[in-house]
Assembly symmetry: D2
Homo-oligomer: 279 residues x 4
């Protein structure tokens, strides 16, 4: 474990945070400087400083140097459309990622939050293919992927998936589109049967439409769920949830395409609730 | 994407599911056979069959051949203690995993659900170190890790973490113990400052104790949260949540160790709620 | 406050609870006796005993004498159909009950949980009218209302509400039916305009149908919500939610019929969330 | 049901709502007028208008005339302190209100939201006693009670409950104070044994302290819960929860004082979850 020294080195990606939670994520480069609203920071002053230590601008303003995680990065992605949030992303990764070397397809690219998370998760031997028919959105996703140096793992197609996916036998496929129920034949053609399909949808009506189409297109093990994340005020003597929370980002739908008629062998779908109950 | 053929091959890991959600996960091996409650399945009959297709035992009983995901695997781990569930695992991975090649420490090993997920996430260039003072539990974790062939990525220490961790400058550290507040000096010694620390705790009292200790031990950006997962009955014309759900598995706590006194530069902790709100 | 003596009197309604939460609710009557699975209790032995004290059967088995609340009663109603639960009942009462002396209409009668709660809430000067086209269900409701001595406050109509309600200018109206969207003209004819209408529905599809019909039938201030009740294990040193909880009983919909076209003056409906946020 | 005419009469309490959800609740009085930000409304113009109809100011601005419910009133109470919200109020009423004619004690008076709801619920034959040691707060509660004409049903005591309650054998008692665990002997002296006690508390630490004190002071059937209210956007074709919601107002605690030692006959407390599950 010696390859992670306790001081900042050129090339390290560091997150600087101030007392108002203002954050900067930057890659250290000798000679470069960061302009903040509270003064200038010379990268050379950061290099050699200890991780976790306090850094001060020429105006005497303080930041603390933290290691950015994927979670931090995702929350600071440039957005041009609603992004998928970490509470869903982690769950999607577990459901879809069949392991390293997997090939995963997504549509649309959106702002690239899921693209980045998938590219991060499939590893250097895996691959992500991202479809969007809108060039402007896909350019945002592409730039976000490049910011992480993950572009070797991602292929972007500017293409309407109504025309079908180019790939065959993909390991997983995720749709973040308003009308995923329209593209299930295309999904079946691209995704290896038995492999995980997922979608995120904001409204109950869309969920109904998708579940109906999944039933008609030989998908099995249909699972519909939502995740609620509640934060607490971290005050030991007065522990309590925050006053307000995010009530909804989207419903998640997962299913597996199976051979024609094979779904009947699985019986009616039922929620997997009992499978995951505490022992 | 040609390396994933649409038929089952020797060496493939397949999940067989029947109409009652009974599941078998097995690695195909020419000549082997699987005894089920509903008859025998010869691996050779499976090899060459299509993914997603219906497989029939010699008694005429049907299974469908699906690709198991990490999610499926985790729900079928052999358990000897309460495991961390997928809804938390995905979120923990996003918070902790600093990327491929990361070194992550966990204690205790428990039944190994988190060990497996971490080993899966850090990739072949990363490493997981898992501590437990109980050999019997750690043996369960070890066997679960081996089932996935992930043992090259995991080092097990049978050791009380009160005596300290062996590692230095680790990239992330997670505690699944009843009393994590007792071991924060040890955590600081093992974890690179500025890097993510996490814990899961069943009771509010434990959360209070941990948050108080984090405050006293120069940890910053303390985040306390819980995740609720609600399933829906996947019936298009009668979409509704299930009757009952899991109400609680645990509270999650995340924080970063920082240099002594540096936390003051970050101001009082506040929940990150606004950071993650829909735009 | 002298009219509530601290000892049990003939005519008092008492709830006897044992260590397994087995409960009996009975009205004390000199000379009567209660047969339990753990022995006989003579009412005369109860009369004169202190409220809150331990009562022992002739077999030495103990009960504690508690004052039953409406909540206790509702949970022990004889049921022949799904009942509305206390978490919803209290909220419905606040939304619907325009005060003492109010006239409230409900359909269907169901098992009478809402009938009882409404009759209790409108007071002796108010009145509840309960419709059901099924005599068998209504008989259950009627018996439950009689058990509380509330029958002077309730009129039962065995009648299909498609034929219209008999009443005019009612103060509130609640529908617990599968298809409330079919009866909104009848609701408008029976309910004084501007007064509260409510419904409970298990599925999202039914909610969509009802909201669409409300829009088309000049109802305004449409509110759709759900209530989640989470219990905690009452252990001071290990405070935590229960493992499992009820995930769903029903969606609640509230609205007000207004004069034709008047709804336009209220603008588009929006959820009242901000109105009720903590200050 | 003829006593509720369909037109507004002098003495009627009406709620006027505009398109921005601005609301006025007023009692109609011949000759009076209401000054709004959008022009003047003469009560005489309202009298005789139909309930639910559109009313226009002299500036041409529209309101709709609705019947205010207790729910509407509570949301528009003058507040000087955090109030208890309708989602909790309805549930508290069901748990505490032992029927008409009941005597209920509360402390502190706060802004009077609970006082008003209790006075409304106990009916004309019941009585509410409200304690607060702060005159300024109690004056707000008193004015709110008077606004509803409920003052004949309420007695206010400006008194520290550490000195005890004046009453004996009350039917129910509710504490909305930061430290209810300090006053349980006083509660036992005032509340008839076996009758419902309740409290609302914002933090988990306070809940732990109260539950411990309840255990030590011979209270049984301890129940701890929280209520979450989630609103939906009432759009039929795009039904979905609101983006954000109230995450927490308070934990509710209920219990019954029993005779000394009688609690042992009830066994350890357990959450009533199963009692209320859907059938």
């Amino acid at each position: 474990m010696s390859e992670s020294p306790s001081t900042l080195q050129p090339g390290d990606v560091v997150m600087l945070v101030d007392e108002r939670r203002k954050q900067f994520i930057l890659r250290l480069e000798s000679g470069a400087e960061l302009q903040t609203h509270r003064g200038v920071l010379h990268h050379d002053d950061l290099i050699g400083a200890a991780w976790g230590s306090r850094i001060t601008t020429h105006l005497g303003y303080s930041f603390v140097a933290l290691v950015p995680t994927l979670y931090d990065h995702l929350l600071h992605l440039r957005r041009q459309s609603q992004i998928i949030f970490p509470k869903e992303l982690g769950y999607i990764l577990l459901h879809l990622a069949v392991g390293e070397g997997a090939t995963v397809i997504e549509a649309g690219s959106g702002s690239g939050a899921l693209t980045v998370a998938l590219a991060w998760a499939v590893g250097p031997a895996g691959h992500v293919v991202s479809y969007d028919r809108r060039k402007d959105l896909q350019d945002v996703a592409r730039r976000n992927v490049e910011k992480f140096g993950l572009e070797p793992r991602v292929t972007f197609h500017e293409r309407d998936i109504a025309e079908g996916f180019v790939e065959r036998d993909a390991g997983a496929l995720f749709l973040d589109l308003p009308d995923p129920h329209l593209y299930l034949p295309q999904v079946r053609a691209a995704l290896r049967l038995g492999s995980p399909f997922g979608a995120i949808l904001p409204t109950a009506n869309q969920v109904s439409a998708l579940v109906a189409a999944l039933d008609q297109n030989d998908f099995a093990r249909i699972e519909v769920c939502e995740l609620l994340l509640r934060f607490y005020k971290p005050v030991p003597a007065r522990l309590r949830p925050t006053d307000r929370m995010v009530a909804h980002t989207g419903y998640l739908v997962f299913a597996r395409p199976v051979a024609e008629g094979a779904g009947a062998a699985l019986g009616p779908d039922k929620p997997p609730d009992d499978d995951i109950a505490p022992a």
